[in-house]
Symmetry: C2
Subunit: 361 residues, 2 copies
DNA sequence: TTGTATGCGTTATCAA
DNA sequence: TTGATAACGCATACAA
C-alpha cells in the first residue's frame, strides 16, 4: 500500500535489458538510428521499459535536445466567454501534437502579461499562442520572441511586422452579415452599439455595417449610433450594452432593432429593453457578435454572427507547430495572417419588423 | 532588428561579474549561504545578471533541485461553465506562489485523463489539481500519486482513502437553501429536477431538500420529482432540464416552482416553460445551483445557490502548496477535506407565489 | 566569504 | 549493430 516509488531512469532500463543507455535511447525514441537495431534488441528494451514503468524525464531530455514539448498559452482574460472555446481548440490541437500547454492568464493586465512571459521563457516553451483583443502589449515584447526562435501566433488580434502569425475573423464581413440580416427582416431604424476604439475589431465591423448600408441605400441615423468606452473590466460589454440601450431609449428616438458589438453587449441591451417593457424580439430585434457559448442558452436565444472560435484555436496551433518544425529542420518559414469567415446564426432574438414582411422568406 | 539571441547561462553571469558560478547561484537564488556573501559581491552579480538579461533555466534547475515549479491542472471539461471560475481561482493562486500551471482537459474521457496524467508525470509537476465531478477515474491512479510524492487535491469531488485532499461545497446545505427560499416565497407545489446518480453532488443536494421539507412539514410530491440521466456530454444539463420540464408540463400536474439540479438545468427549464407560454417568474419560479457566470446575465437573471468557485480553486492550490512545502521540509503532513458554505443569490427568476405572500418581506 | 568539482537523466558524437 | 563518453545548465557538498 505504501512505499515510495523510485524514479525509473534510462539507465535502469539499460541495466534490466542488458544494453547500453545509448541503445535504449535510440530505441525508445525511435530515432533514425533505430533502423539499424536488431528487432530482438528492440523488443527486449521495450519490454524492460514497460515492466519497470519507465517514463522519460522531460526536463533532462530538454537539456540535451532543447525540446520542452511545451507551448505557452497566454489568454487575456479567461473570464471572458470568448476565450473558452478558443482555449478548447488550442488545447485539443496541442494534445494531438503531444505538446503540453502552459496556461497563463493576463487578467487584462500588462504587468501580469510581462511576468508570465518571463515565466514562459524560463520554462522554455517552444512556441507561444496569445489570445488577445487589446493593444496594450508592447510590440517589441513579441517581436523579441522570434529572436529567441520561439514562433508565436495571436488569435483575435494582430501585431505589425512580420514576426507573428495571426488568426482573426473577417470582422468586416461579419458586420455586413449582421446588418444584412436585420435589413432583410425589414428593419430600417437600427441602433448600433459600436465597439470600443481600443479593440481592433471595432473599426472593421463598423466599416462592414456602413458599406452594406451604402450598398442598399440605407441611412444609418447618427443619433442611433453609440460607441462603447475603452474599458477592460470583465462584463464591461454587458454593462455598456445595458447603459447605452437605456440611453437610446431615453432619447425617445424610435428604433426596431439593435446591432450590438458583441454578444455580451447584446445581452446587456436585451436586459435594458426587457426592463423597459419592450419585448425581444416582438418589439425589438437584437443581434450579437461572436456566438459565445451562452448565446444558445439564453432566453431568448441570441441571433448572432458566429466566429469559429474553436477552429481558430486549432489553426493557431497548427501554425506554430509548423513554425517549430521549420525551426528544427532549419527550413525557411514565414508567418501568415488568417481571416476566418464568420457565419450568421439565426436564433430567437430577431424577427421581421412589425407591419413589415420577412424578406428572407 | 534581427540576430538570434544566445542563451545567457549562469556561467556567463559568473564571467561577467568576475565570480564563480557557485557564488552566482547562491546569490541569485538567495540561498541560505547568501547570508555570508558580501553585499558588494551580491550587487555586482545582480547587476551583471540584469545587464546580460539572465534568465534561469527551469529545466536545468529541476535536474538538480527536483523542483519543476509546475503544477498540473486537470479539468474534466473546460466547456462546462462551472470550470471557468474554478480555473481562474487556481491560476491566480498558483501565480501568487510562482508556480506555472500545466493545463489538461480530459474532455470527460477516461483515456484522455490517463494520457494527460502520463504527460504531467513526464513533466514532473510538483502537484496535481483535479477539477472533476464524475466517478470514472480509477482511484488507484490518484493514489499512486502520493507514492511519487506528488500532492493532489480534487475540486468538486472526493476520492476515498487518505491520499488526496478535496474541496467541495456543502451540497446538503445548498439543497436546503434552495428549497427554503422557495418555501419562504410561498411555493408549495415544487417540481424538483434531481442530478444524475453518477454525480457525487446529486445525493446530498436531494438530502438537504428532503430534510428541509420534513422540518417544515412540506410534502414533496413524488410525481413532481424527476432525475437527470447519467450523461457526460456538454450541455446535457440544459437539454435535460428542457426535456424533463416539458415532461412535467405534459403530466398536467400543477407546480409553481422548479428546483433545478444546477444552473444549466435551470436554463433548460426556463426555456421549456417560456416555450409553453409560462412566464418566469410570474407564473413559475426557477432556482438553479452553482451560480455559473452566465446566471447573472441571462434574462431573467437566475436565482441560484452560489458555490464560491474561485475561492475553491484558491483553496485547492493552498492545500497542495502546503503539501509541497511539507514534502520539501520532510515534515509530516496530512490531507484535508473541505466543505465550503454555499450562499443563496436572489435574482429575477423567483418570485412570491401568485396569491400567496412573500414571507421574506 | 568564495571557488572547485560533481552529478541530475538524457541525447549526440564518435568509436568499436 | 551497439557501446563509451561528453555535454546540456544548475545547485550543492566540500575545500580553500
Amino acid at each position: 500500500m505504501s512505499g515510495k516509488v523510485k524514479m525509473v531512469t534510462m539507465r535502469d532500463v539499460a541495466q534490466a535489458s542488458g544494453f547500453s543507455p545509448a541503445t535504449v535511447s535510440i530505441v525508445l525514441n525511435n530515432a533514425p538510428l533505430a533502423r539499424y537495431i536488431a528487432p530482438a534488441t528492440k523488443k527486449r528494451i521495450e519490454d524492460a521499459a514497460k515492466k519497470l514503468g519507465y517514463r522519460p524525464n522531460a526536463m533532462a531530455r530538454f537539456l540535451r535536445s532543447r525540446r520542452s514539448q511545451t507551448v505557452g498559452v497566454m489568454i487575456f482574460d479567461i473570464t471572458d466567454p470568448f476565450c473558452t472555446p478558443v482555449l478548447r481548440g488550442i488545447e485539443n490541437a496541442l494534445y494531438q501534437s503531444s505538446y503540453v500547454p502552459i496556461f497563463a492568464d493576463a487578467h487584462n493586465q500588462r504587468t501580469r502579461f510581462e511576468r508570465y512571459l518571463e515565466m514562459l521563457l524560463e520554462h522554455h516553451v517552444e512556441a507561444l499562442i496569445v489570445v488577445a483583443n487589446w493593444l496594450f502589449v508592447d510590440i517589441q515584447l513579441l517581436a523579441d520572441l522570434s529572436k529567441r526562435n520561439i514562433t508565436a501566433a495571436t488569435i483575435g488580434w494582430e501585431v505589425p511586422g512580420d514576426s507573428v502569425s495571426s488568426v482573426m475573423v473577417d470582422n468586416e464581413a461579419g458586420g455586413r452579415l449582421a446588418l444584412e440580416h436585420l435589413h432583410h427582416l425589414g428593419h430600417r431604424k437600427i441602433a448600433v452599439i459600436r465597439g470600443p476604439k481600443m479593440l481592433i475589431d471595432s473599426g472593421p465591423r463598423w466599416k462592414g455595417i456602413q458599406k452594406f448600408a451604402n450598398s442598399v441605400g440605407l441611412e444609418m441615423d447618427p443619433s442611433l449610433v453609440v460607441q462603447l468606452p475603452d474599458e477592460l473590466e470583465a462584463n464591461s460589454g454587458f454593462d455598456g450594452g445595458y447603459r447605452f440601450t437605456e440611453e437610446l431609449l431615453e432619447r425617445k428616438k424610435k428604433f426596431t432593432a439593435v446591432l450590438a458589438f458583441d454578444d455580451l453587449t447584446a445581452f446587456g441591451a436585451i436586459r435594458a429593453l426587457t426592463k423597459a417593457g419592450i419585448k425581444v424580439p416582438e418589439q425589438c430585434s437584437v443581434v450579437g457578435f461572436d456566438d459565445v457559448p451562452l448565446s444558445a442558452l439564453s432566453a431568448p436565444s441570441l441571433t448572432t454572427v458566429r466566429q469559429p472560435l474553436e477552429a481558430m484555436g486549432n489553426l493557431a496551433v497548427n501554425l506554430v507547430v509548423e513554425g517549430i518544425k521549420a525551426g528544427l529542420e532549419k527550413r525557411d518559414w514565414s508567418i501568415s495572417r488568417h481571416k476566418m469567415t464568420p457565419e450568421l446564426v439565426i436564433r430567437d432574438s430577431t424577427k421581421a419588423v412589425e407591419g413589415g414582411k420577412d424578406l428572407t422568406k
